[in-house]
Structure formats: C-alpha cells, structure tokens
C-alpha cells in the first residue's frame, strides 16, 4: 500500500516539474494573480530581457492597493498612485494579460476576486506578489505570496524554484462558541503560535471548527496564516467549496465541472499521514479576540486586560512589549473594553466579503455610530458591494453613520488616501497592526467584523456578545 500522504504532499508532488540534485524543486504554477504595486518591476525585467509571459491564460491582474474608494470616475489624484495603476494597464496590454481595471465591474481586492471569479480552484498552485495570497488555501489550493523577482520568474516560466516547506497541522475539532468567528479563531491560533511560529511551514487546518465555517470564514482563517509566519494555509475542499465555485465565470463548466469535482474529492489528507509538526487547540476556550500591540501575536480575549511586559518570558520580548505599549499609548492592566476608538474600518482581504458585511450590519442595524468615531466600510469587490446594496446593507450602514465606499485595499494599509491619522486608534477588520500600518503613528486593534461594528456603536472596544443579544 502506498505511503499515506497529506493534502499538501499531494498538491506539491503533482506540480513538480523537476527535483534538482541540490534539493531545489521546480514547481509548476497553475494560477498567477497580479496587482499594481508589486508587479511593475517584474514586467520591466521581462521587457529588458526580451521575454514573454508564458501563460497569459493562467494570469489575472487587478488594480486594488492604490485605488480610491471614493468616486473613481474622478481618477486618482496622487500622481505616483496613478502612474502605478496606469502602468499595470499598459503592462497587461503589452503582454496580453487579462486585467480588471479600476472601473471594471469585476474589480476588487485581488484575494477576493480570485475566488469570486472561479480563478482559484482546488488542487492548484496559486501565487501572487502579495503575502495574503495564503487566502486561497481555503479552497484546497496551495497558495503563497512571492516577491517581485519570483513573480517575474513565474511570468516567464510558469514555474518557481523553491525548496519544499515543512508541513504543520493545526487541529481544532470542536465547534466555535457563539459570538466567535473565523477571525477570532485565527487570531487565537496566531496568539498561540506566535508570528514566527509557522516560519518554514505551510499549515493545514483540520477539524470541525474549520469545516463548520463558511467559505468566507475559511478564507479569513487562511488569509492570516502569513501572520503566523507560514506562507500558506490549506484546507480540504468539500461540498461547501464546490457549491461556492459552481457557476463562477472562470470555474470549469458542464462535463469539465463533473470531472473537476471528481478529482477535487480526492484532495484529502490520508489517514495516518505524517506532519512535521502538529498543534491541537480547543475552540471551546476561544472568546472574541482583539489585539493590544503592534504584532498580530499581541492578542488577548476582549474580556482581558492589556498585558504587563514584566510577565514576558525573555528580555527581548519584554523590550518589544514595552515598545508596543508605548506606540499604542496603553498601560498594562487596562481592561480592553475600556479602550476608546477613533476610527472603525471594515474591509481588507481578510474581512470584506458578503458574510462579513452581513455580520457587521446585524450589529449596526437601527443603531448609531458614536459621535467621536469615524467609521467606514469598503466591500472586498465591486460585485460584493452590489450584492450588499441589493440586500439593503448599505442603507443600514449609512443610516448608522458609516461611510459606504468602493472596494480596494483601502485603510488596511493606506496606500490610497484612506488612512488613520497620527495618534488615532482604529478597530479594524484587517490583518496587520504593525507600527505605521494604517498610517504614520496610527494605532490598530485587529478584530472581527461584528466586533468592529460593536466598537463603532459604543465608541470603545466592545465584547460583541453584549450587543448581539
């Protein structure tokens, strides 16, 4: 009998073009996503070397990082941002790569539109010059971020030179408690593993807590895998996966669909398959999570307090915590729910999908944003925005005092004009609370969409379970 294999083993081995004597693998790449920020230098490299894009049909580009979330017909005011977006369009035209430009009705955040269009498929290898490519692992695709030089290599050769990562399984086999979402689950996992805990690994998520999640929730979990240091997250595709993909414009159709699903059903880790590392957690112990510091591992339950550096195990960690507290303007022992916020951001490739918007709207409905809070929603794609509007969610947000914007990366990293002002504090559904991430000297607390909505209403970090009742 054949050696039991993990899902990762199966995908990896089915994409090996060559294994070199020195252990470097030439890995075939099925799907390559591009955005305007990390691709210009890759195209420039091709141009200088006189090379072509090997498979434009396996490549898809979209403008998302720099695009304004206000009226786009007015164009982009910032000349550098405008040049980058225009350069993407010109490069795609020159090299024959399909693109959704800023005004395309299919435009959106690259990691939202890949699945939405059915470009992301189970069993494939997916890359993008963007660390949150991990998102696509929710579909049973091996998906990871690469640098621009590696992106140029994929454009030219449709392959990557890489060494095989190690394989970790995170098993959470009980149901999530009420009020907890995929975001709380992944924040709790990052809190346990640490931001470097997954370095050198891909992480397969297994067990009921993940199976119970919708595809949107699974994408949120897989998306933040990189925040634990692992380049890719991976989940077994199942009936939810197939139902999500069926009928999507770029998904297989007709007889091809049947053949594809038959193959996708084989994409499971075999019983007895061996992992390099295993972690087990209990979902029952998870409460809604919130970050207090400047690294995604700086996470506590919303019922907790700002931790004390004195309790940290190493001097390096104590120093790092003191720096984070200073940056965040927080004092150890402060109850998390006593921390006021100035901004609320609902959006980003982590939490901007229809389910996220519905969850936030459920909290907001009939209530009003606190007078000192500036709150905004940026849906993950133009199609999601339309769907939300068809469901009347936009009216709920607007009536409460939220700004209802166009789709893009927006305030997650503030490359466009959407930024948190210096010293201001933001409850954000995004993925990184690094120093300066949402704006210079801006202070970020990462939370789920429902928790962000709750903070907007009360004007402070809030346990959503108090409002949801």
């Amino acid at each position: 009998m054949a050696q039991p294999q993990t899902l990762f083993d199966k995908i990896w081995q089915s994409h090996l073009v060559e294994v070199q004597d020195d252990g470097i693998n030439l890995l075939y790449i099925d799907r390559h996503l591009l955005h305007e920020v990390l691709s210009p230098q890759a195209f420039e490299g091709l141009r200088l070397a006189g090379r072509k894009v090997r498979r434009p049909d396996a490549t898809l580009a979209v403008a998302d990082h720099n695009v304004p979330t206000t009226d786009r017909r007015l164009g982009i005011a910032d000349p550098e941002s405008r040049l980058q977006v225009e350069t993407l369009s010109l490069n795609c035209e020159e090299f024959g790569v399909p693109i959704f430009d800023m005004l395309d009705p299919r435009q959106g955040i690259v990691h939202v539109i890949g699945p939405e269009q059915g470009f992301t498929l189970p069993g494939t290898t997916v890359v993008c010059c963007d660390s949150h490519t991990a998102t696509h692992g929710a579909f049973g695709a091996l998906a990871f971020g690469i640098g621009t030089s590696e992106g140029e290599h994929v454009l030219a050769t449709q392959t990557l030179r890489t060494s095989q990562p190690k394989n970790m399984r995170v098993l959470v086999d009980d149901p999530l408690p009420p009020g907890c979402t995929g975001k709380d689950l992944i924040l709790a996992i990052i809190g346990q593993l640490g931001t470097a805990g997954g370095t050198g690994y891909i992480i397969e998520y297994a067990g009921r807590a993940f199976r119970d999640l919708s595809m949107e929730g699974r994408m949120t979990v897989s998306n933040m895998t990189i925040e634990a240091g692992a380049r890719a997250g991976l989940m077994e595709p199942d009936e939810k996966t197939f139902a999500y993909l069926k009928g999507r414009p770029m998904a297989p159709q007709g007889a091809q669909w049947e053949a594809a699903v038959a193959y996708w059903k084989t994409l499971k880790s075999d019983a007895g398959a061996v992992y390099d590392h295993e972690v087990r957690m209990d979902a029952a112990n998870i409460t809604p999570q919130v970050t207090w510091g400047t690294s995604p591992e700086d996470v506590v339950p919303i019922t907790g307090v700002v931790p004390d550096p004195q309790d940290a195990p190493t001097e390096a960690k104590r120093t790092s915590m003191r720096r984070a507290l200073d940056y965040m303007g927080l004092v150890p022992g402060t109850k998390m729910t006593d921390i006021p916020v100035d901004n609320v951001f609902i959006g980003s490739c982590t939490n901007s999908r229809i389910e996220d918007l519905r969850a936030a709207a459920d909290i907001v409905r009939g209530k009003t944003v606190a007078s000192h809070v500036e709150a905004m929603v940026s849906p993950g794609s133009t199609l999601i925005k339309q769907q939300a509007e068809a469901e009347g969610l936009d009216k709920i947000f607007i009536a409460a005092g939220f700004q209802w914007r166009e789709s893009g990366c927006s305030m997650c990293l503030g490359m466009n004009p959407d930024r948190v002002a210096p010293g201001k504090r933001c409850a954000s559904t995004s993925n990184r609370n690094f120093e300066g991430r949402q704006g210079r000297d801006a202070r970020t607390h990462l939370v789920s969409p429902a928790m962000a909505a709750a903070a907007a209403i009360t004007g402070r970090l809030t346990d959503v379970r108090e409002l949801a009742g």
């Binding site: 073009v17 069993g123 660390s131 640098g147 050769t157 449709q158 931001t195 692992a230 120093e435």
Partner: protein
Amino acid sequence: MEKFIKLSGVAAPMDMINIDTDMIIPKLHLRTIKRTGLGKVVFDELRFHTDGSEKPEFILNREPYRGANILVAGDNFGCGSSREHAPWALLDFGIRCIISTSFADIFYNNCFKNGILPITVSQEELDVLMADASNPENPVLTVDLEAMEITRPQGSTIGFRLDNFRRDCLLNGLDDIGLTLQKVDKIDAFEAAQRQQQPWLYPSAV
C-alpha cells in the same frame, strides 16, 4: 545581479525582534515602478521625523553606522508583506548582508534575488555579534560566502550554513530565469500531461 563573494564592512546593531517590512519600507514608498532609489527612505519612520529631519538616536543616523553594509538584528527579521521593496531599499542603502536568528520566508527568498546574503545564526552567536556591532570603535565584520564564515572584529570566526543552490547563485550572480528557461522542454512536457489530466486548468483550450 551583483555577485556576493566576500564582504567586509560596518555592522549596525538593531536589537529588536519582529522588524517588519512596514518598518523597513513604509507603504507610501511602494508607489514606485522602479527598483532603485529607495535607500534614502529605508526605515523611514524609524529614521526620520515627519518634517524630514533625522532622529539622532536611530542607529543608521549615527557614526560609523551611516555607512553600514551589514545589519545584525533580532529574531523574525522581515516579517509581514512580500514587498521586494524591502530588500531593494536595504540594498540601495548599501546593506549586503543581514544576520539574525530567523527570517520571514518571503523576505529571505527576496534577499537572494537581489544579491543580499541573509545569515541565520544561533541566539548565542547573535548575542556575540550584536555586542561586536554595538562597539562603535570597531564594528567591522567580514563575511566570506566561499568559506561560509563570519570574522569578528578581533579575528575569531563564526561559521554558518547555506544550501548549495542559493550559495552558487550569490557567488556567481546568476539569473535564475535564464537557468529555468534552459529546462523549457520539461515545462512543456509537464503542461502537456497536465492538460490531459486536468483540461479545465487550460481555459483557452476548453
């Protein structure tokens, strides 16, 4: 890509863990379509006040570290985004080698595409090198990739390891796209087989 064989230069101590890519190169500087010119803004928010004046306490604003070619940094260097602007900015400043106890995976790969050598050492070795770099009188380290060793200011050495492929690419300044294109027959064959088995991955052919 410039070869990396041997480097002797000032090593700057950055005794912080989790130095992320947003610190190395804040997002506003990602709005470029070039690889060059980012050295003047590397570590922008750590290095400069909002009015553009230098923060005198930041290590790269102090002598002799203004001319540093090597960084000695805390654990998990380069975590966060995949932005290759991080190594481009470091390189443009003059940094050719970074020494830490661990690096984020994507950043680590990006270094090798740009002629930068990231060296992983043990915590004990890092402590020693951090102390060496922190002595402004003589913070000079010599990194020899052929011998795979770091020579400390007083002459003793610390060995390190690196896989052969990456070492060869750095030593020879190789363009790995050119190397891979020599294997185009194998890529063609892979695609032909995959197209048979999973035709839905080839939309133009369906």
